[in-house]
């Protein structure tokens, strides 16, 4: 299998390109995604290739075009509305939560609602409190939605292609900091990654670090530092929150006896809380120390770099959490 290095943004773009070519029911909607190529360049060249009927510039009407996507999906197409900054998804919340997520259930299974909502997430760019948030946990709380949080170009492409073939509403979160900074190998050949399969990004035996999206890279950096101190950390990426591969997470913790859960979303009532509950139940007898959660501080994301970087989980906070676990480890 031949591979080449792609950025995260290029991998996303390639998945869209291939699926637009494969299935003419797929139509992209968003603000400046057409002729302009998207503010993050994830749709670059697609307008030229597929035309203004497939790659559609919308007015600034998040509720309007996401709502339309629900009706477009219910009438046989597969719309892909893009939310430029994930923070703006609040404007489309009713259409996602009350319409897309429950039309199938409320009609007793009469319709499917195949929508792939692409939204960005992530801070660290001094973009201020309304352009830096990570709201994936909200959608993982809603029955009827699937939630995808890829961490690498390889995963992003394979999971996005799967989303574009899924008959359900999928909210696909892309960390905007990764778009041009994260590069990785992507096969030339076509491949898909199924939902609900976690990936062990690094094997280890002393502690498990569960992380998702960009935090996987932060966790890997922490694991590398710990390795130099003789601590072997396993890094597990769930890749999708709904469905969730509980088994792989639990098995890893049963093996290592400790769990640090890292997410860029808020800590209170967040992803780290839910995953901690999964681990506490599934690996209770194997835990040698309390589960550690590392999330964003529960504050609006600040602008000033020292404040913002303190808020978002970093390598140091992960390492400290691992130390706490190893200190607290009961004698065997």
């Amino acid at each position: 299998m031949s591979t080449r290095e792609l950025t995260f943004a290029q991998a996303i773009r390639e998945a869209l390109d291939e699926e637009l070519a494969r299935d003419e029911r797929i139509v992209l909607f968003g603000e400046d995604i057409g002729a302009w190529g998207g503010v993050f360049r994830t749709t670059e060249g697609l307008y030229e290739k597929y035309g203004p009927d497939r790659v559609i510039d919308t007015p600034l009407s998040e509720e309007g075009y996401v709502g339309m996507a629900v009706g477009i999906a219910m009438t046989g197409m597969h719309p892909v509305p893009e939310i430029m900054f994930g923070d703006f998804i609040t404007l489309a919340m009713d259409q996602i939560v009350n319409q897309a997520a429950k039309m199938r259930y409320m009609t007793g299974g009469q319709v499917a609602v195949p929508i792939t909502i692409r939204a960005t997430m992530g801070g660290g760019r001094s973009s201020g409190a309304q352009h830096s948030q990570s709201w994936h946990a909200w959608f993982a709380h809603v029955p009827g939605l699937k939630v995808v949080v890829p961490s690498t170009p390889y995963d992003a492409k394979g999971l996005l292609k799967t989303a574009l073939r899924d008959p359900n509403p999928v909210v696909f979160f892309e960390d905007k900091v990764m778009y041009h900074k994260i590069k990785g190998p992507v096969p030339e050949e076509e491949y898909l990654i199924p939902f609900g399969v976690a990936d062990i990004k690094r094997e280890g035996k002393d502690v498990t670090i569960i992380a998702l999206s960009r935090m996987v890279h932060t966790a890997l950096a922490a694991a590398e530092r710990l390795a130099q101190e003789g601590i072997s950390a396993e890094v597990v990426d769930p890749r999708t929150l709904t469905p969730l591969d509980e088994e792989t997470l639990v098995q890893s913790v049963c093996k290592t006896g400790g769990a640090v859960i890292v997410d860029e979303g808020y800590t209170r009532f967040g992803i780290t809380a839910e995953l901690a509950a999964v681990i506490a139940k599934g690996a209770f007898d194997y835990l040698d120390a309390p589960i550690e959660r590392v999330g964003a501080f529960d504050v609006p994301i600040p602008f000033s770099p020292p404040l913002e970087f303190a808020t978002i989980p970093d390598e140091e906070r992960i390492v400290q959490a691992v130390y706490r676990i190893l200190e607290g480890r009961r004698p065997q």
């Binding site: 309007g64 219910m74 009469q110």
Partner: protein
């Protein structure tokens, strides 16, 4: 000998309109009774009094045209061809209902009839309707999409967002605003700046037409013109139909605290079904005996639907996890 009125429309069409309006009236009255007797869970939002609007509009539609409905949606469903038996079963939460009891009174839909859901979020279906219009335009078969909604929903942002897009992209979308004078318990004029939605529609760059929503022929004629226009690719339009609901906002509200007796008496004089009956008699399309027989037939059918639905089973609890995902 008195001169007979010339029928304004095909007699068969007028008869069908009459039958559907009667079906809505008897269905709504039956739901009220079902509620009163405790045979259904929850509440119900009834549309008796408003029958001419959904029927006038839907008779201008083809089977493949789609509609979106509202919390006060029984009339839309029947007008688009919905059957009273699975509707009544749905009202009672039975597995034989259109939505296997998962939708309920507020969310009855038969998607195979082009009914794309009935929304409990006021104005929430406007996006779905605009989306269906998008697909219709893409298909190029002249199909149109109709969004039913109330005077209250007309103040939701989604109307403005989708109207802008629909005009911009010339979508075959007909906004049908059923102005039944009240948004819950408040008169629409207290909640609406200016002259209402028809004027606003014109400002957005689409036709904005107002009709007597209790005159099924007037509604039909106005709707047909806008529908044909949309089929020709000339874009969206808004039709505001003025009407009244006889009952309260829902079955638990007598509807008397915020509306006067005089006001309601005036509206009763404009009853859509009586007007249609008069038309059928004066044009000689139906005899008094035929009217009587039609009324009895439809009444009986609805009563049977109630009896059947009462005996139908509830969904088995195992179904609770079904239909979350496709």
């Amino acid at each position: 000998m008195t001169e007979r009125r010339t029928p304004p429309l095909e007699p068969s069409l007028l008869i069908e309109m009459y039958r559907r309006m009667l079906t809505i009236r008897f269905f709504e009255e039956a739901v009220f009774e079902v509620y009163r007797r405790g045979w259904m869970p929850g509440l119900a939002h009834l549309s008796d009094g408003q029958e001419a609007t959904p029927v006038g509009v839907c008779m201008a539609l083809r089977p493949d045209d789609t509609i979106t409905s509202t919390h006060r949606g029984h009339g839309h469903i029947i007008a688009k061809g919905g059957q009273v038996e699975p509707m009544m079963a749905e009202v009672m939460g039975k597995v034989t209902g259109y939505c296997r009891g998962k939708g309920g009174e507020m969310h009855i839909a038969d998607v195979s009839l082009g009914i794309l859901g009935a929304n409990g979020i006021v104005g929430g279906g406007l996006g779905i309707a605009a989306g269906s219009a998008f697909t219709a335009k893409r298909e190029g078969k002249g199909r149109v999409s109709v969004a039913f909604f109330g005077d209250g929903a007309a103040n939701q942002g989604l109307w403005y967002e989708t109207a802008n897009i629909a005009v911009l992209w010339k979508l075959p979308l007909i906004y049908v605003c059923e102005n039944n004078q009240y948004t819950e318990f408040t008169h629409w004029k207290k909640l609406t700046a200016g002259e209402g939605l028809a004027v606003r529609a014109r400002a957005m760059g689409m036709p904005g037409i107002e009709v007597d929503g209790n005159d099924v022929v007037a509604v039909y004629q106005a709707a047909r013109e806008l529908v044909e226009r949309a089929r020709r690719g000339e874009g969206p339009a808004t039709l505001v139909c003025h009407t009244i609901r006889y009952g309260g906002h829902h079955v638990g509200d007598p509807g008397t605290a915020y509306r006067t007796k005089e006001e309601m008496e005036e509206w009763r004089k404009k009853d859509p079904i009586e007007r249609c009956e008069r038309l059928l008699l004066e044009t000689g399309i139906l005899s008094p005996q035929a009217i009587e027989a039609t009324r009895n037939e439809i009444y009986e059918r609805v009563q049977k639907a109630v009896e059947q639905a009462r005996q139908d089973p509830f969904p088995p609890v195992e179904e609770v996890y079904e239909h979350v995902y496709a």
